[in-house]
């Protein structure tokens, strides 16, 4: 039971992460996130610097909201957008884990290369001692 729950948790985490990655894949949406990382802002303020219609920017904002990266609050008649930093932390987590994984693997690969080079110099008879 616990295992099934854990797997469900991992699956929804994965789905969430995929939605965040898809949201970040677009340059306009990345620019919107950059804007909101400076401060919360109204939809019109966010749309201002872009050479596209408010409607087009709104579509991008909706994708960001669906992924959980951006949240919308009402303040009277204004819609205020803000970033949900927790969703971005998860992305950072994947990137950090993956980078660490490959750095360690490449270290191991280079150790093996040195081992193989040494084994080669010693000749085929001694090579076996150098390997696991």
């Amino acid at each position: 039971m616990i295992e099934i729950e854990a797997r469900k948790g991992a699956a929804s985490r994965t789905a969430r992460l995929d939605a965040v990655f898809a949201a970040l894949a677009d340059p306009t949406r990345r620019a919107i996130i950059e804007r909101l990382s400076r401060s919360d802002a109204r939809v019109t303020e966010v749309a201002e610097p872009f050479q596209m219609s408010l409607n087009a920017v709104s579509k991008h904002i909706r994708v960001l909201e669906a992924s959980g990266v951006v949240e919308r609050h009402r303040q009277g008649r204004d819609h205020i957008l803000s970033i949900n930093t927790r969703s971005l932390d998860e992305v950072d987590g994947w990137i950090v884990r993956t980078r660490r994984y490959w750095e360690e693997r490449l270290d191991a690969m280079e150790r093996l290369l040195r081992e193989l080079k040494k084994g080669h110099k010693l000749g085929p008879k001694d090579r076996k001692h150098g390997s696991r």
Binding site: I95, T98, L113
Partner: protein, 149 residues
């Protein structure tokens, strides 16, 4: 938080390696050599690698320690010895979803510049891969690879 790092699903590592590209390529594609460095688990007592080195062929790495065993597997997308190797990658690191790894080797005199790129696949490609098997995902990847180069 570093915003630059949070803008894309790509991890890229560059490294100068003191070896020729052919030798490095072999470390990534010959099962007996793969088994000697690819296992990330310190307690690994046994690492078995299998690979069918052709586009569409699969590979797997099974790593066993005293307590448990883990598996990493994938499918080759592009094989261009000794310059480039592209394969899908699925395992505990990726939460068991498909990802894409590209290894590029650029000769620099006696050394080789290694560029490793690991990226998550678009969600749609992952869904197609799960529901319709490997054919679609490979077509999708082949397109992506052609477009990029």
């Amino acid at each position: 938080m570093d915003r630059d790092d949070a803008t894309g699903p790509i991890v890229q590592i560059r490294r100068r390696v003191k070896a020729g590209a052919e030798q490095i390529f072999d470390l990534w594609t010959k099962p007996d050599l793969m088994a000697r460095w690819m296992s990330p688990f310190p307690g690994t007592v046994d690492c078995k690698a299998n690979c069918d080195l052709r586009p569409g062929g699969t590979f797997s790495l099974v790593m066993s320690s005293e307590e448990s065993s883990r598996e990493v597997s994938g499918t080759y997308v592009q094989i261009d010895r000794p310059r480039k190797l592209v394969f899908t990658w699925i395992g505990p690191l990726t939460n068991n979803v498909n990802t894409l790894v590209t290894l590029e080797l650029h000769p620099r005199g006696d050394e080789t510049e290694l560029v490793l790129t690991h990226e998550r696949l678009p969600t749609t490609a992952i869904c197609e891969g799960h529901t319709r098997g490997w054919g679609n995902i490979l077509d999708h990847l082949a397109d992506a690879v052609v477009k990029e180069f």
